[in-house]
């Protein structure tokens, strides 16, 4: 399954490195140089994951998050923060980002965060699917039956 990933960073080198790295991991990567451009791309297509830098000209990470919330988009956004901006990164998590990762990061770190996010995505989807199943069964309210109906658990 194709995974779409958006990298938003004002540093061209960072964009290039992440594109090279994540393409090798099988993601379809698109890039944006700032929050506004990222928001525009995010409106065009649904991304599975968005790696967003916190500090950027024109529109920063927080602005991007707010834009996404306004547009009703619920992508899994992972914030990238440099030294000294961890507080702000935590703030973004409160504002709805999935997680944050500190620069400089090791390749494993970013892959791990993405894997975790994917796992969560998967659970989300499963959860949603199960809910639909429950709705389809309709009226069945036995708790045990609900749990028993979940193959994943």
């Amino acid at each position: 399954m194709e995974r779409y990933l958006l990298v938003i960073d004002d540093e061209a080198n960072m964009r290039h490195m992440l594109t090279s790295l994540l393409s090798k991991q099988g993601y379809r990567v698109e890039v944006a140089a700032d929050g506004a451009e990222g928001l525009r791309l995010a409106m065009e297509r649904e991304f599975d994951f968005i790696l967003c830098d916190l500090k950027m000209p024109v529109m920063d990470g927080l602005g991007f998050l707010a834009g996404m919330r306004e547009a009703g988009r619920t992508a899994t956004v992972i914030m990238m923060s440099a030294y000294g901006t961890v507080d702000q990164a935590i703030e973004t998590v409160k504002q709805g980002a999935y997680d944050y990762i500190s620069k400089p990061f090791k390749v494993e770190e970013i892959l791990l965060v993405l894997r975790k996010a994917e796992e969560r995505e998967r659970l989300h989807r499963e959860n949603a699917q199960l809910k639909r199943q429950i709705d389809a069964i309709g009226g069945q309210r036995t708790f045990g039956g609900m749990v028993g109906g979940s193959k994943a658990m």
């Binding site: 080198n13 440099a82 000294g84």
Partner: protein, 503 residues
Amino acid sequence: MRRWGLTWDSIMTLAMLLAIGMLLTDLVATGLWWSRIDRLQQRQLENLLAVIAGPLVSNPGAVPASPVLVELAGQGICLVLTKGGQITQPISNTCPEDRDATRLAQSQGLAALGSFSTTNGLIAVGRPIQPDQPSSPVLVLVQHTEDKFARLWTHQHHILIYILVNTLILTVIGFFRFSKRFIRPLDRLIGMADDYRDSGPLLFTEPSQANEIGRLSSSLNAMILRIEEEKRKLAETARELAESNRQLRENQAEMVRAEKLASVGRLAAGLAHEIGNPLGVAQGYLQMMAMEGSEPAEIADYADRARKELERVDGLIRQLLDFARSSRSRRERFDLHDLLAEMADSLRMQPFLEGVELALDLAAEPSTVFADPEQLRQVVLNCLINSADAIRARTPAEGGLIRLVTTPAAEAGKGMLQLAIIDNGEGIEPAMIEAVFDPFFTTKEPGAGTGLGLSVSLSLIESMGGRMRLESAKGEGATITLLLPVDEAGGGAASGPVETIDA
């Protein structure tokens, strides 16, 4: 003259007092003599009359013996016989011609027996020849009163000479006594005071004297001791002052260092942030190089990119070191424009300048200055930080602009080059402009600034022989103007390389 003042005064006073005293005594004595001189003459005349009248008592018609009359005439005494108010017989031929004498004799003859009277310089003494007979003829002696003034002068002549001699002798005696008791001790005190150089307790010792001089001596000694004490305290204070001065100078160096560290700290925070990106990118490329399935061309590309990122990190750290460099710095000739351009390049990515446009307007020609580049860098950095903070503090925060403007030498003043750092921040209230150069004055949040920036900048610029001033108004932005000497002679500062504070 001054030394003789008291001596002369005392001699004069003494002589005057003695003379006055003796003259007063003389006056009293003369007064007494004056009041009694007439009575003395009268008594003489009465005695004389008694002698003359003696032979006439038994023989009223007799005439006094010729020698007596001659004697009377010799003394200017007039002898008359009166009876019933009339001069019956002027016995002596020396009676005064004038009527006064005659009238006096008559009245005396009529008057009570034995009395006398004086008038108009005449004295008359009468004596009845036969006191037991009321109608007895009266013998009257009339004489000119003595010339009192002549006699007075004769007396006074001697007395005055005596007074003069006495005054002289007593003055000399009194003066020597006075001198021994007062002037010589005082002279000694003066001599001691004159010779006084350094401490010596009980310097003014007059142990033999329990009088005021002795007390003065001990007072002076106490004073000397007090002065010694004060001197000691003063020396101590001076030493303390020198010490605090030294500490102050050390603190100044400390302050410069603290301020530098504060700006460097701020740069470092920004730099750390900046380093994160290239470091992360380089790490990413390096790890990708190690991954399996990478093409050699890809690996070469990654290596190249990683190297470039590391070069960036290197550059950033070098900048920080440039600012933080601990330098016993020297003044040198360098191109101000190069320094400003280099600073602008390296600082543009600093977070503190985020959202602030940094514009260079470098018109000065030539653009060399004679200053300490490291210190100048610190000053300019500090001004930029202040400007950026002022821009951030205003509303709206967008559109921040800091202009670095150098002005051609001719406009700046003789031997000086002008660098203006102009921002459009919130500005400074006029009342605060004076205070901003004071150490520890800051309007920033605690921890955001040391309050030393401008104070240290000012001292650095002044130590380079330059000048620094600030113009601003609330809401109008601020302009820092630096005047920098273009060569060694410029700015009136010490020429040649100058060692400045180690910061």
